[in-house]
Amino acid sequence: MLKAAHSLGIVFFPAFDWALSPTHPEREERLLYTQDQLEEEGVFDIEGIAEVKPLVADVADVERVHFTFPETELVTTRSHLVAAGGAMRAAQLVLSGARDKAFALVRPPGHHAMKSVHGTRGFCAINNEAIMIEHVRETHGARRIAVVDTDCHHGDGTQDIYWHDPDVLFISLHQDGRTLYPGTGFPAECGGPKARGRTINIPLPPQTGDEGFLMVIERVVRPILDDFKPELVINSAGQDNHFTDPITDMNVTARGYGRLNELLNPDIAVLEGGYSIQGALPYVNLAIVLAMAGLDYSGVVEPDLEPARVRQSNRTTEYVKRLCGELPRLYFNPPPDTSLTRENGYFVRRKEIFYDTDNIRETQMEFLRDCEHCPGFLRLETRSNRVPLSLGIEAPVGVCGACAEEARRQFEDAQLKGGFRYAQLIDRVNKIYQRIGF
C-alpha cells in the first residue's frame, strides 16, 4: 500500500455549479477531469492524504486585504468566497500541524486581483493567496512569507498587494509580458521603496520547457528562498505553462511540474490558472499531488506527449542561462528605483489598471508615507468608469504607532471633508476595519 512521505491535505472544490459564462474557460467543467483522475488513481485512499472541505471566507477576510468598491458583496460571488476560504483552510491545515502540506485545488483563481478591486480582471476578483496570508498573519502570527507564482501569466495582483511589504517575498515566473496578458512582470519591477528586492520577476521566452523552468528554480528561486528564510512557502500553482494550454505558449510537462514542486518544496499550493482541462489539468494536478506527498510521479505521462516537440531550443536555454546569471542580484543587491516621485514626505505613484473581464478602467494615485521607523502607511485614491473617486487607507502589519494614527486621522478627515464616494480603512495595528459611503 502507498504511504505519503509528507502528509498532505487536499482542499478540492471544483464549484461544479459556477461559471463566469457558459463557454468561458472558467466554467463548471474545469476541474471535472481532474476529479476523475484523482478518484480513479485512488489518491484519497493513500495513507497520509486526505480530502478536506473548504472554509467560506467572509467579508471581513476580504476587507482585511482589499479595498473593494463599491462594496465587497458587489465585486465577489459566493464562489470567490469559497475559493479564498479553500486557501484559508489549506493554511489552517498546515499551521495547526494537522498536515505537513496542503494543496487548495479551488476555482476561480485570484492572482490578478490587486489591492484595490473594482471588478474582475484576468478571471480574478479577489486574491486567494493574499486573503489566506493575511488570515494567517492575523490568527497564527506567522509574518515572513514567500509566494512563488508559477502561473504562466504574471501575478500582477499579488505583486501589487505586496509591493510595499518587506516581509513578503513575491517571485513570479511567467511567459514574457511582451507576448502575453497582462503585459507586465519585467525584472525592473522589483518592489516599492521600502521593499526593494522583495518582488522578483522572471519573464521567460515563449516555448520554454521543463529544462528552463527547473533551471530558474535551481539557480534563482532556491538561493533567494534559502536566504530569505520564510516561515511559509506558498506556490501560486498555475498550470498554464503546460504544452497543451490553449491560451499560452510554453512547453512544460506534468512531470516538469512535479519536479518543480519537489525543488520548490512549498508548504501550501493554491491552484491559479490553467485551462487545458482535459490534456493538462488531470495530469499536472496528479503530478503535483504526488510530488507534494513525496510519492513517485514519474508515471504521470500525458497521452499526447512527444518529447521532441516540447524540448526547448538551444537559444532559449542560452537566454534562460543569462537570466539566471543576472536576476539573483535583484534580490541580493537591488538597484534603486530611479522613477520614484517623492512629495511632502510621501512616495507617489500613478497607476492605470484595466479589468479585461469586466471592461473597467481604473486610475489610482498611490501615496506611501516615507517613515523612518517603519514601512509606512498607504493612501490610495481611486476612480473608474464604474466607481467615482474613492479612498482606501491601510496601516499594514508592522507599521509604527505614529503611522497608524496618521492613517486613522486621514480616514476621519476624509469623512469630515467629503470628496470621496466610498472610503475604507484597514488598520492592522489596532485591528480597526471601517468603510463609509454606502
Binding site: F13, P14, F16, R27, E29, L32, D36, G42, Q278, G299
Partner: protein, 564 residues
Amino acid sequence: MQWGMLLGIDVGGTHTDAVVIDESGIAASCKVPTEHGNLLASVESVIDCVCRQVPAAEIERLNLSTTLTTNAIVEGKTEEVGVLAVGGPGIDPTDFMLCRHFHALSGAIDHRGQLIRPMKESELAAAVAACRKDGIRAYAAVSKFSPRNPGMENRMAEVIGEAADVVTRGHALTGRLNFPRRLATAYFNSAIWRLFNDFADAVGKSLRRLGLSAARVNILKADGGTMPLSMAREMPVESILSGPAASIMGIISMCDIVHDSIILDIGGTTTDIAIFAKGAPLMEPDGIAIGSHPTLVRSLLTRSIGVGGDSALSVLAEEVRVGPQRPGPAMAAGGGHPTLIDACNHLGLAGHGDIARSRAGIERFAADHSLKPEELAQRAVDAAVGRIRDEVRAMVKEVNERPVYTIHELLEGRRIVPSKIYIMGGPAEVLKMPIFKAFSLSVSVPQSYAVANAVGAALTRTTRSVELFADTEQLRLHIPTLGVSRVIEPDYDLEAARRDAARSLLSFMRAEGVPSREENVEITQASSFNMVEGGRLVGRNIRVKCQIRPGILHRYKELLGRLC
C-alpha cells in the same frame, strides 16, 4: 390476502439466528451456536429448529447473511487469482500488487474513455500463458477507467476464455471510479468465487432435503439489501461484511425511523454505531475495506468500538476504563474479572446472573485501587457511555465534514443533527438511562432487539445501483455493470439519462425475477457538464447514479413500529 413466510438467517461470529415472519409478525425464532468450521451445519440446524415451529413448505423465501466469504478472506483461505491490470498514465499499478500472479500490462484509456494506447496483445498472451502454467483457474481483469470504456477488460476476458472458471471484469462489479479499489474488489471476487459457489450448491441441497425447495434464496450485502443467489454466484464479493447491515435493517423493520438518528448495537465485546439521515441509513462514501484493502463494495456506514457488556474494567493512572479487553464472561456469569455488566449489576441498573458475584468482584477490584465500590461502578458506566458518545460525535462530525463539490451544497447543504437514539443488543435495556443522560436525546429500545439481525435479514429488499455515463461528443452511453453500451443522439440530455438509468435498472431487476417498485428507485447523482473546445460547445458529459435504496419489503410496511 395470504403470503408465504419469510425466513431470515444471520450467521454471526458466535450465534446463528433465524426468524420466520408472516404478516402478523415473528412466527418463529431460533438461536444456535455457530459452528465455525462448518457454517452449512449451523444453517441447517437453525432451519431445522424453526421448521419445528412453522411448516417448511410455507416458507417462500430465505434471506441469508453469512460470514463465509469474510472469514475466508480474513483467514487467507482464498483461491489463487491471476490478476491482469492495465494502468496508463499515473500511479504504477504494481504499487497495488495483491497477489503472486499479478501482471501489469501496457495500454491506456483516458478519463473520457478514449483509447489512448492500445493494449499489447503479446503481453496479454504471455501473462495468460504464465497463469495457465501455474494452474490458475480464477482471474481478475481490470483497466484504469474501464467504467468509461470496458473494451480492454472485455478483451482480456475473451483471451483468457476457456482457461478460467471465472474472470471478474472490474466494470461488471461497479461503474464507480477508483482503480486500486476496483482491482482489490475484482481480485477478492475471484478469490472467493469457488468457495461461495460450492456453499451455494450445498445450501440448495440442504433446502431440498429440509423441504424448502420452493424457497427463493437471497444473500445479504453490506449495503443492507439482498441479491438473488444467481447474482451472488457471480459477485460473491458483495456478500462480505453483511453482519452489521443485518442488525441495522432489523431496526428499520421494527421501528419507523424518520429523523436523524443514531443506532447503537451493543454486544458483548463491541458496540457498532450507525447513523440515519432523515430515516435513511448513511453509506460509506466509496466502499467497505477488507482488512487493509479498501474496495468498492457498497456498505452502510458503521463504526465499531471495543466497548460491550463483557468489556473488562481497568484503572490506569486513576482513570477508570472499560474495554477493549474481554478476558472472559462477566463475573455474574462465572467470569474472573469484573466487567461493565458487573458494574451495572452493582449499581442496580441490571439484574443479570449472579448479582452477589458481581458485587463481590466490584468491591474487591475497587479496594485494590483505593476506590469506593459505588464510585468505581459509576465511573465505569460513565466511561463506557462517554466513549460511545465521543465516537458518535466524531462520526457525525466526519459525516458533516464530507467534501461536497457545488457551492449550493457547501452553503446550503444539510447537516446531520441526531435527535433520537435506538439501542439494541444484550446490554441495551441496561444502558438505556445512562445513554439518555450522556446524550440528552430520546432513547428507544425495540422489543425484539435480540433477533433484530435475523428480522432485518428476513425483511430487507433487494438493492442494486447503477452508474450511467454519456458523452454526446463521442455519441456513446455506458452503463458498465449492466453491460449496456450504445450510440446516442447529439441532443441526448440529462433528463433522458435520468430516465434511462432508472429504466435500465428496473428492467434488469425484473429480468432477474426481482419485482422492484419504481418508487424505490432513487437518483443519487445527476450532473451534466457542457464540454467546450475553442470557445465552442462540443457536447455534454453526463453522469447519473441511481439505486434501489435499502429498505424493507413493501408488503411488510405495516409491521413498521409494531415491533419497536
